[in-house]
């Protein structure tokens, strides 16, 4: 049975790492992934990925020699870079969760010029495109292989 509750230390490390993966940007007027709302969404979303996230955080802590969040900024960067270079499934799952939550935040989507809504029921508009391009293909004789 997976214990889906991260410890306070794990949560602090995860938040710190999330903010390093996607930092806030004044240029685009977007929060980082350590933003209160985004991070709360992340904690609520880990669910069945808790074991992988916990494993990635354990690897992070091992590299940090203790609490990752308590390191100074420069050392955090070194440790995070080392972890990313090492890769592995647990880190991929952690990063995936961070990005999936980040890129559904309404502020982030609006900054990308997108509507902050589910696809249904509004849907999207797709142009017909240039069907005249098919004229070239229409002139081609059938080329499927005939069977005796």
């Amino acid at each position: 049975m997976t214990d889906e509750t991260l410890t306070a230390t794990e949560i602090a490390d995860l938040r710190c790492l999330a903010g390093m993966i996607v930092p806030a940007s004044a240029k685009y007027n977007v929060p980082g992934a350590d933003d209160d709302a985004i991070f709360a969404d992340l904690l609520n979303s880990i669910e069945r990925d808790t074991d992988h996230v916990r494993a990635a955080l354990a690897a992070l802590r091992e590299r940090a020699g203790g609490s990752f969040a308590d390191l100074d900024v420069g050392r955090r960067g070194e440790v995070a870079a080392g972890l990313r270079a090492e890769g592995g499934v647990p880190l991929a799952v952690l990063t995936r969760n961070v990005l999936l939550c980040y890129y559904r935040d309404a502020r982030v989507l609006r900054s990308l010029g997108l509507e902050a809504r589910p696809p249904f029921p509004g849907g999207h508009v797709v142009d017909q495109g240039d069907w005249s391009l098919l004229d070239q293909v229409r002139t081609r004789p059938p080329f499927w292989r005939a069977v005796p």
């Binding site: 390093m20 993966i21 996607v22 930092p23 940007s25 240029k27 685009y28 977007v30 979303s45 669910e47 069945r48 990925d49 960067g77 995070a80 990313r84 991929a92 990063t95 995936r96 990005l99 999936l100 939550c101 980040y102 890129y103 559904r104 989507l109 990308l112 997108l114 902050a116 809504r117 589910p118 696809p119 249904f120 029921p121 509004g122 849907g123 999207h124 508009v125 797709v126 142009d127 017909q128 495109g129 240039d130 069907w131 391009l133 098919l134 070239q136 293909v137 229409r138 081609r140 004789p141 059938p142 080329f143 499927w144 292989r145 005939a146 069977v147 005796p148």
Partner: protein, 532 residues
């Protein structure tokens, strides 16, 4: 509740639904047992802002990730291609992308034409009326006149080309290579009660609009109106046989997990190329100690997947991105055998639009295209909505070592042994993929794409589960005859992709359903002598 039925169908997906509908006009008592439940469009991912994340959760394509109560685990550790499916009314048609090409005429005669594998006992001409009937039931959209195919009508206009299709089309014209709007079963107009596609952009994990033809909204309402009973949340453990060696029913677990016996005159298996051999191999008895219908030893063998390879890149101009169905256009330029190449048979190229923004973020980060930290935003914004993707659907030839067996340890929640997959990509297919990747790179280069990369094979691409109970005229070389009846058990039929002798190089659902309708038609024509 469990009075004997005339026909018992196991599985309500692409083939089971088609067979149920077709046989309904016989007025026989027909029952279908389905291990999953009815799905609700209001529950589908596109209803929520977390729709991209659902692909990793309740709507994951892999049952090993999804782990719904209706799912069974699959040990696919020994395969580079992982099985993907869905278990519900409608089966995997609930979670497919609705690409709907037919096999080509040459696909049924590969031994005669190319000296490899085996010919089918039936051919395109035999199936043609059933393709047509199935097209009408499922509702095809596309454009008639594709020179890569024999002429066939489509029920609705094609999906829009959009920016992505226009870009690819222009590129393919530059190269002088074939392209054509894909045949799909996405409704582009209102069709038989289905609403038209509104470009949710997220077709595979179920269509909230109901524009995608899954058999729960196409065949099943018609079959049920015609008197077929569909019993959900019922997982069949084994097919039982009587002293006469004929199938006499099944043992299953009902919605309350209570073991039940259902007697039947005829049993039809429609559980897909993994579920069907699993069920047959689990159906052991004194008369059939190696599994039911397995005197040839071929149940579970010759598994074919269509090893899927993806080539992608990014162009400067904006593409359709997350808007619009992934399906767009295809190319059959390299489908037929060309003696100048170092492989036989061929592949279909499928050009897709983009993907949800969040999924693009995950993919670009994983590919190393988007860094962590300060450079993240600039890098991602330069890529999102600019993707071109080419999918290679390659033909893999039947090889007996590619197989489904029973895992000695892994079981589902009812204690039924789970399937184990052993699969390697064959030499011919690897040479084919070398060639295909090179051509896809040509396309990317001609399109001016940057950051071109290849995923070979795409791991979670085992949608097409074929060949594990092949049809044929020789009982020593096949499991069922040319009209789907088991050589060993004369009231047992198989109607799903298991019966494919070879797989072709296109998505198989259209052909699976045409074969199922053909077998149903044969059953109806032979009712008086069905067991002779």
């Amino acid at each position: 509740m469990n009075d004997k039925v005339d026909v018992l169908i196991i599985g309500s997906g692409a083939s089971g639904a088609a067979v149920a509908w077709s046989l309904a006009d016989t007025k026989m008592r027909i029952l279908c047992l389905e291990q999953g439940d009815w799905m609700k469009q209001s529950d589908f991912p596109s209803n929520g802002t977390d729709y991209a994340a659902q692909l990793f959760r309740d709507y994951a394509t892999s049952p090993n990730i999804r782990r719904r109560p209706s799912d069974y685990p699959i040990n696919d550790d020994a395969s580079p291609i992982k099985v993907v499916n869905f278990n519900a009314v409608g089966g995997s048609t609930v979670m497919y992308t609705a690409h709907y090409p037919r096999l080509h005429p040459s696909d049924f005669k590969v031994r005669s034409l190319d000296g490899v594998a085996d010919d089918w006992p039936i051919d395109y001409r035999v199936l043609e009326p059933f393709f047509t009937e199935n097209d009408r039931m499922m509702g095809t959209s596309g454009l008639a006149g594709d020179p890569a195919y024999p002429a066939h009508a489509l029920m609705m206009p094609p999906l829009p080309l959009g920016r992505t299709g226009t870009k690819i089309a222009r590129t393919m014209n530059t190269l002088g290579w074939h392209w054509w709007p894909s045949d799909t079963v996405l409704a582009t107009t209102e069709y038989e009660g289905r609403a038209p596609c509104i470009n949710l952009g997220h077709c595979t994990p179920a269509c909230a609009q109901g524009a995608k033809a899954s058999t729960d909204i196409t065949y099943w309402p018609n079959a049920i109106r015609a008197g077929v009973e569909l019993r959900t949340n019922c997982r069949v453990r084994e097919i039982t046989v009587g002293a006469d060696g004929m199938a006499n029913g099944v043992v299953y677990y009902d919605a309350n997990d209570v073991e039940q016996f259902q007697a039947a005159e005829v049993v039809i298996v429609a559980c897909n190329g993994v579920g069907t051999p699993r069920l047959l191999l689990n159906s052991v008895s004194g008369k059939f100690p190696n599994g039911l219908a397995n005197s040839s030893g071929l149940v579970g063998k010759n598994l074919m997947f269509h090893p899927w390879t993806q080539i992608y890149g990014y162009v400067d101009e904006p593409m359709d991105g997350h808007r619009g169905p992934p399906l767009c256009i295809w190319s059959q330029e390299f489908y037929e055998t060309d003696p100048s190449r170092d492989f036989v048979r061929g592949f279909n190229l499928q050009f897709n639009r983009g993907m949800p923004v969040a999924t693009e973020a995950v993919n670009t980060e994983a590919a190393g295209l988007v860094p962590w930290g300060d450079g993240h935003h600039d890098a991602f914004r330069a890529l999102v909505g600019h993707r071109l993707t080419v999918g290679v659907c390659s033909e893999d030839l039947p090889e007996e070592h590619n197989r489904v067996t029973l895992d000695p340890v892994l079981k589902d929640r009812h204690g039924i042994p789970a399937p184990k997959i052993e699969y390697t990509i064959g030499d011919n297919t690897n040479r084919m993929l070398d060639f295909a990747v090179a051509r896809a790179r040509d396309i990317m280069q001609a399109a001016g794409a940057r950051h071109v990369d290849v995923v070979r094979p795409l791991p979670l691409s085992g949608w097409h589960l074929l060949g594990t109970a092949r049809m044929g005229n020789d009982p020593e070389r096949s499991v069922v005859n040319g009209w789907g009846r088991s050589h060993d058990v004369k009231n047992l039929f198989i109607v799903d992709g298991s019966v494919f002798v070879t797989g072709g190089g296109v998505n198989p659902t259209s052909t699976i359903q045409a074969v199922a309708l053909y077998i149903a038609d044969q059953i109806k024509q032979r009712l008086a002598t069905l067991f002779d």
